[in-house]
Structure formats: structure tokens, C-alpha cells
Symmetry: C2
Subunit: 396 residues, 2 copies
């Protein structure tokens, strides 16, 4: 018989998917260019030419069996070495290849990291607003995800509420900075305070508490924003990265877990990930993508368009009277809806062909997310629709 557990999961259709399907249908009626779809976090800038060139060169010059051959289960050794060197130079760290585990994107990275540092029944704490897939990554390990309510003033960390959830079963804290969906970046002050709390609790509970740091937006940082490297502040940090957003290659599924060389059992994390991988059939990410990305490390897509879009949207939102924190990075912005029920708010927006995502599933009801990985010209046209929507539905 098919497993009831997974069958049951089919019932819960994601709001984002429903919205995206609506947008697809509407596009057929009025043309895609007239649907202002801010629902999906799909990169909208071309893949760097350097990556394409390197892929072509590899296929023209390398032995095909070597190029497309099995990777080590931790990832190709020479690739991991290059990644370690790159991170060391960029963030003044001391990684070696043995601290790195290559994954199929950030999803693979967070899911493996969570399994390494938890046992069934343990608790993992995250902070609202948060990426709803975290529920799946953590539930599958048998651990339990606990959510700290949002600091809606700055979308940093609500430390008072955090303190209430910490307990001896807390084995990991899952953070995401720059943050999806808020677009904010944890400051040096926030990270220092987080590290201090965890250091203290580790002593009090007599066991490690790991930070699992989900960082796929690490390269999308706006002007003048302080964006510190999380692992610098706290030894027991597992940094999870993906090239999906910085290189616009989400479909190629390349990411990694980088264990801080000073963390507990730092030399075992990567090989333990490989053991986990064997059993679930994740195994290693595609060889040619590993090799090509390692050869162009540091290259990114032209990410400047995201900041341009953000400024246009932020200014419009402020002028329309929205309560909104200015994003420090990513391609998301997270305003407060103009009525308490943000689902109702977003439904009304559809009448203006604006596809916005209510933030209930991000653990922050009353807010909504706009993903502005959209052409700037379209963003500009969308602002007229947004203005009309607000003025028609919410003016006194």
C-alpha cells in the first residue's frame, strides 16, 4: 500500500503554488506582460557568460568519462578544495576540503545539516518570518521545528520570545540571512547577541547547539548594508549555500554545507552528510556543474537589477502609506497588508492583476511578500496597478 503519510501531504496545496497557477491562467487571458506576478523567487537575470563559456570549454576539451564520471559522495575533491580556498580568502576562514559537503542546492544542504545535528524528538528553533519548506526539512528528520514570533519592527531577532523557546531539547537554531521573505540582513549586533545567548545555553545545557545558517542570498546585498558572515561569530555553525540565486542556475541544483573548522566534530560533518546521502538517494550534485562552478567561483550574474527594483517598490509602498522595512538584500520585500487579513488583501489585489503572497505560511500573518525578480520595466508598470489597487480599495 502506498504510504498514508506522504499521501496525506498531497492535500495541503501551497498558497504560492495556487497563486502561481492563477497567474498562469490569467496570462493566457490578457498576456503574460500584463500580469504583475510577484509570487515566485525565481532569478530574473541571465546566467553569467563565464559559466556558459566554461561549460562549453569543458565539453570540448575534457575526457567525457572523466567529466561526467562519478563524484566522490562528499563532492569532487578538487572542487571542494577550490571552494574552501575561496571562502577562506573571502571571509578569512580556515576551511579545508574535508569541511565541505556538496549538495543539490540549499534544500539539500539544510536537510543534511539538520540530520547531522539532531535526533528524533530534538527541537530546532527558527525565527519568523521563515521559509515554509523548513517545516519539511526538519519534520523529516524526526525533530520538531519551533518558531519564534517575528520582530516586526526591524525583522531582526525577537530575543525575548527566543528566550522562552530555548530549552535543553534545543539542538539547533536555523537562521536565514539575508532573509526570505523579509529581505532584511542580520546585523553584526544581532549575530553577536545570538552567539552570546547560544554560548551561554550550551554551557547551561551541557551540550552543543548548532547554528544552521541558510545563506542562498549571501551575494545579493544592497549598498551600504552590513552583511557579516555568520560563521565568524559562532564556532558551531554549519553554513548552507546555493548558487541558485547568485548565478541564476536554480535548476542545476548546486550548493554545499560548510562546517566551521572549529565546530564540534568538524572533521566528521561532511562524511556524516555523505552517509545520510547514501540512504536517501540524494548522493552528489551533477559533476559537470560542480566542476564548471568551481572554475568560475566569485563570478555572479549582474545582481544590480534587484536593488533597482527594490528601490522603486519601496518608494512606492512608502508613498502609499505602507508600513515596510527597507530590505538590505535578496529580491524580496515584506510590507504589512492594509487590512488584518492578508489573505483577503492579496485576493483583492488579484483584481488588479497583482500577484502578492500572504505571509501566513511564513509564520507572520498580516504581512505579504513581493518577489521582485522581475524586469524593471514591468515593475514600473506594476506600481501603477498597485497605486490603483490601494486607492480604490483602501482610501477613506
Amino acid at each position: 500500500m502506498v504510504s498514508q503519510k506522504y499521501k496525506d501531504m498531497l492535500g495541503a496545496k501551497s498558497v504560492i503554488r495556487e497563486l502561481s497557477e492563477w497567474a498562469g491562467r490569467r496570462a493566457k487571458e490578457i498576456g503574460a506582460e500584463n500580469v504583475f506576478d510577484f509570487s515566485l523567487g525565481n532569478p530574473s537575470v541571465p546566467v553569467p557568460q563565464e559559466f556558459t563559456d566554461r561549460m562549453m570549454e569543458l565539453m570540448q576539451t575534457k575526457d567525457t568519462m572523466e567529466l561526467h564520471g562519478y563524484s566522490q559522495s562528499q563532492g569532487i575533491l578538487s572542487v571542494r578544495q577550490k571552494f574552501a580556498e575561496f571562502l577562506n580568502k573571502k571571509y578569512d576562514m580556515n576551511y579545508t576540503a574535508e569541511h565541505l559537503f556538496m549538495t543539490t542546492g540549499a534544500a539539500g544542504a539544510v536537510a543534511h545539516a539538520a540530520r547531522v545535528v539532531t535526533q528524533p524528538g530534538d527541537e530546532v528553533i527558527t525565527f519568523a518570518p521563515y521559509f515554509p519548506e523548513y517545516n519539511h526539512y526538519i519534520n523529516q528528520t524526526g525533530a520538531v521545528l519551533k518558531v519564534v514570533p517575528a520582530d516586526t519592527k526591524q525583522f531582526q531577532i525577537n530575543f525575548e520570545e527566543f528566550d522562552k523557546l530555548l530549552n535543553p531539547k534545543t539542538m539547533a537554531v536555523l537562521i536565514n540571512t539575508p532573509n526570505n521573505p523579509s529581505g532584511t540582513v542580520y546585523s553584526t549586533e544581532t549575530l553577536k547577541r545570538l552567539a552570546a545567548v547560544l554560548e551561554e545555553k550550551q554551557k547551561e545545557y551541557g551540550h552543543d547547539i548548532f547554528i544552521i545558517s541558510d545563506e542562498p542570498y549571501r551575494e545579493i546585498i544592497f549598498e551600504g548594508v552590513d552583511a557579516p558572515y555568520v560563521s565568524k561569530f559562532y564556532d558551531n555553525t554549519l553554513s548552507c549555500y546555493s548558487f541558485a540565486k547568485s548565478m541564476s542556475i536554480p535548476g542545476e541544483r548546486l550548493g554545499y554545507v560548510a562546517a566551521n573548522p572549529k565546530c564540534t566534530d568538524s572533521g566528521l560533518i561532511s562524511v556524516m552528510c555523505a552517509q545520510i546521502s547514501r540512504g536517501i538517494g540524494h548522493n552528489c550534485p551533477p559533476s559537470i556543474i560542480q566542476i564548471a562552478v568551481a572554475d568560475v567561483l566569485g563570478v555572479t550574474s549582474d545582481l544590480s537589477v534587484y536593488e533597482k527594483n527594490m528601490n522603486i517598490i519601496y518608494d512606492t509602498l512608502v508613498s502609499l502609506g505602507f508600513e515596510v522595512v527597507k530590505p538590505g538584500g535578496t529580491f524580496y520585500i515584506f510590507p504589512k497588508a492594509l487590512e488584518a487579513d492578508s489573505v483577503a488583501f492579496c485576493k483583492k489585489a488579484l483584481n488588479y492583476d497583482l500577484v502578492l503572497v500572504p505571509a501566513d505560511s511564513f509564520g507572520c500573518p498580516g504581512y505579504f511578500r513581493m518577489a521582485y525578480c522581475v524586469e524593471t520595466q514591468k515593475v514600473e508598470r506594476a506600481m501603477a496597478a498597485l497605486r490603483k489597487f490601494v486607492e480604490t480599495e483602501y482610501s477613506m
Copy 2:
């Protein structure tokens, strides 16, 4: 704290890996060309030019964001449609895109299929000799793998022993034909009998029993061998495939689960796999590889060298007095060792620079595996070493 469960798994070093490491060290001493390494099932024939050409063409002509963009979690729809059509034509089936789930190789396919049809505590039966990674795929689901002792006469199925293991907890039967490590192919007669037994047991137990059919060697079939498509014989079949062996692209991690359209809940299997995938971070295989392979479906590497190698080795083994079943496909052969302790036998072989794998971990002690994905010229030279080894160590 890091998970003791995965930490413990690090202790058990695989025999194959130890042998392969020995071969690497020895190669440095006497040159790789003088080490006759038959330990690894790594394809030894070039990737088809059509695949490389298509990859290049895609990168030159397609929009990069589309080409490297997110795949649907079940796999790209147009890709799944092409795969369904291909299978329908080749095997006279009725698949549609909804019956297919794209995976990172056969490992991903078998691991997902096992999760779909079992709950913790259920039993899955497989037949020795079997691929030792099955233990990991099944254990991770919480189900228990039960192993039927080998039919050492023909390496088909030992039905008497199978009957003893069947019980109401049996939810799936995991088969692998053409078989690693035996090289044999299940005949029409074997598959008919297997289907009849399972049909009867389904009625008796009042629940489904699925066949999970692991078929990465499906395209490597030798002359005159009857190699039927498993799913034709039994409706509750989930066919698991990988392009690793047929196209020599093991590192690119592309495979699929194809649910027989007549199986129970056939329309749900693929979407359930996608739900499983979300939680473990497997997600979808690389987009560009999905697209390129779908565009050259039916093309394989030149696989004829494996049959050539098999014939050379088989004839030599027979002439040296080995008990061995002639393989019908794959790139493995599975003779009986010349002493009861096949580990001791394989250790002695190292003195002749022959790297053979004892079959204890395949659930069939007393036998050994040779993977002949090796250049033919080297196979020929290895036969002299094999002759010398046998004549020196085992002649009366």
C-alpha cells in the same frame, strides 16, 4: 551534538572502497596500466557524441534562465512527456508524464520508491546476490530488508526460500535485472512465476505488494538473451532507471521512477515522490541534463565492448575450471572462488595485481565479482595474471 546514528555508520568501511584504495596506492608503485582493477562498476566507454552535441547546442541557443531554471519537483513536464512516449513505444506501455518522477540516478529512484510503498516496520524482500546499498535505502525508510539466499545454479530466483520469507508484513519486493553483481537477466519464466506468487499473496494478505524494479543495466544486454520488461508482467511495478551506465554519465545523476499506469494509486506515486523529495532535500535532478537526455532518448554509448570483455573473461574462467554462470548483460561476472573463503581468495589475488571483490557484502559468500568496464586490451593482459594466480595458488 552530532547524531550518533550517522557517526556510527562511519565505522563500517566498505570492502570495495578498501580494495579501490589499495589499487590506487599500487598504481603509484607500478603504473595504473599494470593494476588489473576489476573492483568498480564505473562505465569505461565514452559518452555518446549526440549528448555532448545537444548540451552544446542548448547552451548556444536557449535562454539561459529557462535552460538552468527550476524544474518542477516531479521533473520538467516536457521531459517527462518525452520519457513516457519513449517507454510506451519501446515496451508497449501506456505511461503519461504523471507516472514519471525524475530522480538523481537510480539511487534516488529506489530510495523514493521504497518510501512511497512502505511504512516503518514493514518488510521489503530482495534476492541475493544484491547491491549492498539496498540496505541503506531500505533502512532509512524505517522498513526492514529481508534477503532471500541465492539460486547459485542460475542466479534466477530461489522460489522455495522466497516463500519462507513472504509474510503479511511484506510490502515490496526489490529486484535488480540485469543483475549487479551476477550479470544474469531474469527470464520471462522467472518474472511470470514471481508475478504469480505476488498476485496470490496480495489476495491472501489483502494488501498490495509492489515490485521495485532497479534497472540501470537495462540497455546492456548480450546477444540472444531474453530481457523482458519487468512492468509488463505485474501491474504493481515501479521501474527505477538511471542513465549512468547506458550513457556513461554516472556523475550527472539522472534517473526516474516510472509507475505502471495500472498500479494502485498510479496517479499519486510521482506526486508522492515529490513530497518525499521536499523533505529530504533531494529535489529534482539538474535541468540541463534532464533536457539534453530527453532530446537524445534512445541513444547510448557503444556498449558492445562489455560483451567482448565478458566473453574473454568467461572463456578464461571456464578454461581454468571456475564454476561460473554466463552473464546475460551488465558489466559484471560472478564466479565461485577457488576456496570457501572468498575474502582470502581475493586477498591472494592482490599479489598478482588482480583486484577482485569478494561477494560477502552481496549476500553470497564464497563468490567474487569482476567488473569488466575496463579496456579490452587490459582485460586480455589481466587474463595472463589470472592464469598465473590460479596455477600458482590452486594447482594440485
